[in-house]
């Protein structure tokens, strides 16, 4: 087990199902994929990740499935020709995995209330109190740039998914242009949302390079460092060097 962060507390969970939901482009998939890796690193025996994104055609967690599989993570995605399909395919294995409750299951859900609607069809399988549903917040996205927008997002997703949030993930970023200040401003927004919605800030996530700065030494919430796994084509080989 490798700790990537200096003295920060990594997020831990007592629940066996982690549902990662959020606005479009909040960074859900990247969070879900990194969280799965983190769970394996932290010693969870069985980790599975299911890609429930039926709204995005590209940049879905399934694109990292090879890397995840190599870490021993079970990936539940459409395969073969359906891997790239923009069809709303929900595999029966997803329902099975939710109901079996073996190990930890990470659900990577599509963006906004539209993407979260898929949970509604599965809502009968979730046992009350057995899951964490986390809202990934990016304050640099147009519809979640302020408190009202975030609260609306919570409302919209809860009504379309028929599930209740249990926490907030502060993931404010601007991709390669992210600065420590941007991430900290985002955390402030997440705290405001937390106060108004009564949901705890479950953790802060951000690119490893950013959140390893000293500015984050005194942050009082757990921190999940992210390593980008869903890359753009011109980024891939540059990263290899």
């Amino acid at each position: 087990m490798i700790s990537l962060v200096k003295q920060h507390r990594l997020p831990t969970f007592s629940k066996s199902i982690l549902i990662i939901v959020g606005g479009y482009g909040s960074g859900k998939s990247e969070v879900a994929v990194n969280l799965s890796r983190q769970l394996v690193n932290a010693g969870s025996a069985q980790v599975a990740i299911a890609d429930l994104d039926i709204v995005n055609p590209y940049f879905r967690s399934r694109e990292a499935s090879e890397q995840l599989t190599s870490l021993g993570i079970r990936t539940i995605n459409p395969t073969g020709g359906q891997h790239y399909a923009d069809l709303p395919i929900i595999l029966p294995e997803v329902k099975g995995a939710i109901e079996q409750r073996q190990g930890v299951l990470v659900l990577d859900v599509g963006g906004d209330d539209v993407g979260a609607r898929v949970l509604s069809s599965l809502s009968g399988s979730f046992e009350e109190g057995a899951y964490e549903m986390l809202l990934v917040l990016n304050g640099n996205r147009p519809f979640t740039a302020d408190l009202d927008g975030c609260l609306k997002m919570i409302n919209d997703i809860e009504s379309s998914s028929r599930l209740k949030f249990t926490g907030i993930v502060s993931n404010t970023h601007l991709l390669e242009e992210t600065t420590a200040q941007i991430a900290l401003d985002g955390l402030e927004l997440a705290r405001q949302v937390s106060r108004r919605s009564d949901l705890p800030v479950a953790f802060l996530s951000g690119l490893k390079e950013i959140i390893e700065c000293d500015e984050f030494d005194n942050v009082d919430v757990p921190i999940l460092p992210l390593e980008r796994l869903l890359l753009k084509p011109w980024e891939s080989s540059a990263g290899d060097e």
């Binding site: 055609p57 590209y58 990016n138 640099n140 147009p142 970023h173 242009e177 011109w234 891939s236 080989s237």
Partner: protein, 363 residues
């Protein structure tokens, strides 16, 4: 305005609003549907018109009707949908109407796939529909550039009273990048729409907006009027960019859109390995930057040109035409939604260099 993180499709939608678009007609198709979803929320907020039509065929013709009012209107679609729109695009070109059409390209032919491609180059640049006409075509390579070019499209459509197209591969539409919108948007002066729009025959003669000229002399005359505009576009609207072009380059890569960005990564890495390569990126695909490519390609140090596309040697025809046989033009491309990696590009560059060396030795 501060930078925000936006998906290409959303950024394009917002840019259109900033450029004064008052009407948007759409039909869902991956990978551009986010434009429609975004505008279904935003258009009513700004008092604009949002309408989802029954087909791309109808949508493009709604655009035709809407453009006749003189207002700024646009549509977005992806490859198969754009094919259906060609009818109205030809008619709008014939009737001299301004409209903006944005194609977030996916792989073809046919229903193809949903992954990024550049295979609609011929369709966009060489006409697409029937008849003697051209559409002005711009191709962004970043989300920020997609924003800037979207705004420019509306200006050029009005300036030339001609359909203007922006083509971005699926990557442009789907990826997230930080973008900034200009605080205020100022355009160079444009001719008044009062001169041509259908606004009712009050205190003036009735106007007919049409592309029908049954008399061949009349039709040829209309074609010549259009041709004059296209010549003006060639003089005034060529846009291009170069990257690391220097006297050290042995090869000149020509690529556009997402492909150009991948080439930039490859060029940086090759540079680190001691291989100097320059990149020429056409931004306007019609008019094609012929003179500019010729100038860069015929520098003494350039031995060969390598065209790289996410399609099968479509742009290469224009590159060859521009270079007039004065340098060998090589091609590398992937299709069907496969995006070449920087590794593959590097490999191709080295391959072309070795071909050059071998032929040199034989002599």
């Amino acid at each position: 305005m501060a930078k925000v993180l936006m998906k290409g499709n959303e950024a394009i939608a917002e840019a259109a609003l900033r450029a004064g678009a008052e009407g948007y007609f759409c039909y869902p198709i991956t990978p551009q549907t986010e434009v429609a979803e975004y505008l279904s929320k935003r258009m009513p907020e700004v008092g604009g018109m949002f309408l989802q039509g029954e087909s791309e065929l109808a949508v493009a013709n709604m655009l035709f009707g809407a453009a006749s009012t003189g207002k700024r209107v646009f549509t977005t679609s992806s490859s198969p949908g754009i094919s259906l729109m060609q009818e109205a695009i030809s008619y709008m070109a014939g009737a001299e109407l301004p409209a903006v059409i944005i194609n977030i390209m996916r792989g073809g032919p046919g229903l193809g796939g949903i992954l990024p491609a550049q295979a609609d180059y011929f369709q966009a640049v060489k006409g697409g529909g029937h008849g003697d006409y051209r559409t002005l075509v711009l191709a962004p390579s970043t989300v920020q550039e997609a924003v800037d070019l979207t705004m420019l499209c509306f200006h050029l459509a009005q300036k030339y009273r001609n359909p203007v197209m922006m083509i971005g591969d699926g990557m442009i539409g789907q990826m997230m990048e930080a973008v900034e919108f200009p605080e205020s948007y100022e355009e160079p002066p444009l001719p008044s729409t009062d001169e041509w729009a259908a606004t009712g025959a009050l205190d003036r003669k009735a106007r007919i907006i049409k592309s029908l000229f049954l008399d061949p002399v009349g039709l040829e005359n209309n074609v010549l009027i259009l041709e004059k505009k296209y010549q003006q576009m060639i003089r005034e609207e060529v846009r291009c960019e170069s990257y690391k072009i220097s006297a050290e380059n042995k090869i000149l890569i020509v690529a556009y859109g997402t492909m150009a960005r991948i080439c930039q990564t490859a060029i940086d890495e090759l540079e680190a390995d001691g291989v100097s390569v320059g990149l020429f990126r056409p931004i306007s695909l019609y008019p094609f930057p012929e003179k500019e490519i010729l100038r860069e390609a015929t520098r003494k140090n350039i031995k060969s040109v390598l065209t790289i596309e996410m399609s099968m040697a479509q742009m290469m025809e224009d590159v060859e035409r521009a270079i007039q046989g004065r340098r060998p033009v090589h091609f590398f491309g992937r299709s069907g939604g496969i995006v070449p990696t920087p590794e593959e590009v590097k490999e191709q560059v080295l391959k072309v260099l070795s071909i050059k060396r071998r032929t040199a030795k034989k002599k």
